[in-house]
């Protein structure tokens, strides 16, 4: 574990940003070379959404990993911002490529369709987190308030996973796997919180 920590300290944060945009460039490349199959629109939308969920799950894993002794906290902001980037691109793909700027239908869906309401809510909860991701914002809010605010990411991740599960037919594996990952990572926090309270009252 110490060796892993030592290794991670040698990785510059910018390398995480760089690695994080590689999947996006890969999607762009596949789009330009007709590598996304007969329905590139759905493929783009799905890949962007899944990447958003993957970075959300990765971000949620950082704290439990620290309990286990692996400290990757330095990379958490990069992981979070990459999640926001992919979720934003996913939304943009839906608005432009999938819905073709049919504003009326989108507005109707936005008040009627639970998968869209929940997905949009999950995106909305990420906006204040992205806005307050700077050092200056952390100083201004104070660490306690900042930490409280950033627990909103629990809503983002849970909402994103439920959004995915709600738009598929039947029960395919992928959306269930994302939801399971989020539930486990949030469950670990609850479990630890519960144990601490027991310890305090004892």
């Amino acid at each position: 574990m110490d060796r892993l920590n030592a290794l991670s300290r040698r990785v510059p944060v910018n390398a995480v940003y760089l690695a994080g945009v590689l999947p996006f460039l890969w999607i762009v490349w596949l789009t330009l070379t007709n590598g996304l199959g007969p329905d590139p629109v759905k493929a783009i939308e799905l890949r962007l959404g899944e990447l958003g969920l993957q970075f959300l799950v990765a971000g949620l894993a950082i704290t439990p990993l620290r309990w286990a002794g692996l400290n990757l906290i330095r990379f958490r902001r990069a992981v979070g911002l990459l999640a926001f980037f992919y979720v934003s691109m996913h939304l943009l793909a839906w608005v432009t490529l999938d819905m073709g700027l049919r504003w009326e239908q989108m507005a109707a869906d936005l008040v009627k369709r639970w998968y869209i309401i929940i997905g949009m809510l999950a995106f909305a909860t990420m906006i204040p987190l992205a806005v307050t991701s700077t050092n200056a914002a952390i100083r201004r809010l104070g660490p306690a308030a900042w930490n409280r605010l950033h627990r909103l990411v629990y809503v983002s991740a849970l909402g994103g996973a439920i959004h995915y599960l709600m738009l598929v037919k039947a029960w395919p594996v992928e959306p269930l796997a994302y939801l399971a990952a989020v539930v486990v990572l949030l469950g670990l926090r609850l479990w630890r919180h519960g144990r601490r309270q027991v310890a305090q009252s004892a």
Partner: protein, 303 residues
Amino acid sequence: MNKAPLRWSDVTPRHLWLNRRAFIAGAGAAAVAGPAVAGLTYSPSAYSTSEEPNSLEEITSYNNFYEFGTGKEDPSRNAGALTTDPWSIVIDGLVDRPGSYDLADVLKDQPLEERIYRFRCVEAWSMIIPWIGFQLSGLLNRVGVQPGAKYVAFETLVRPEEMPGQQSPILDWPYREGLRLDEAMNPLTILATGLYGEVLPNQNGAPIRLVVPWKYGFKSIKSIVRISLVAEEPPTTWNMLQPSEYGFYANVNPTVDHPRWSQASERRIGAGLFGGRQDTLMFNGYEEEVASLYSGMDLAKFY
């Protein structure tokens, strides 16, 4: 000549397959068809749309056929191992001549036509598909429908060793579908055995599948091994799984939404990155031919 960049739909340009068809028709299909290619003999149909069909590549690599996996590209990847010859269909229930019919016997004397139909998936995407097939009514008349029969029930093959999707219980196998008898007898309703002038590729439901163009795609059951004439509405797969979302009728209807998503518009596969959406048509554009089947029915209730 070609505009860059190439799209999937450019792979089989219309003039090429039109040429190929004329060539086959002129020279005799058996003489020119290569060993692996079985050209079919068929006539055109007045029921065909004049819209541009999707390319063969699009139609054969973007499929919902859960017997081979839930991904759109799974069927094209996994369906190759399916044995479609020999093939027989059990025709039973309220018919005069029940029995297990060899596929060749089912096809005997049924005139093949090309039906270029709109195909609308319940997932709100669509294609234009040049099916080759014959009217289901022709087969039903031949086996003799008894007066008590009100519905037709269909079943897909169950063969998990060749259909890997059936190794998991994602649906309650066998896949089942059904039609009211008058829907089954409608001239638009066909049993398809081909596509683009050639035998049906496995991933599209070989060797024989139903095509009901005014209903969502899941009604058009693939790789049929059983056709039963029955008195009561038969259980159907998606309706059994989620009755509030998938009705027995499943008519394409832009005014009756799926509980989780809108059916008002659709994306045409092959329209390109910025192709956007088009309005979904009542009964998928076949209102003139089929609306009378449902006169007086509340289509929001019988979705």
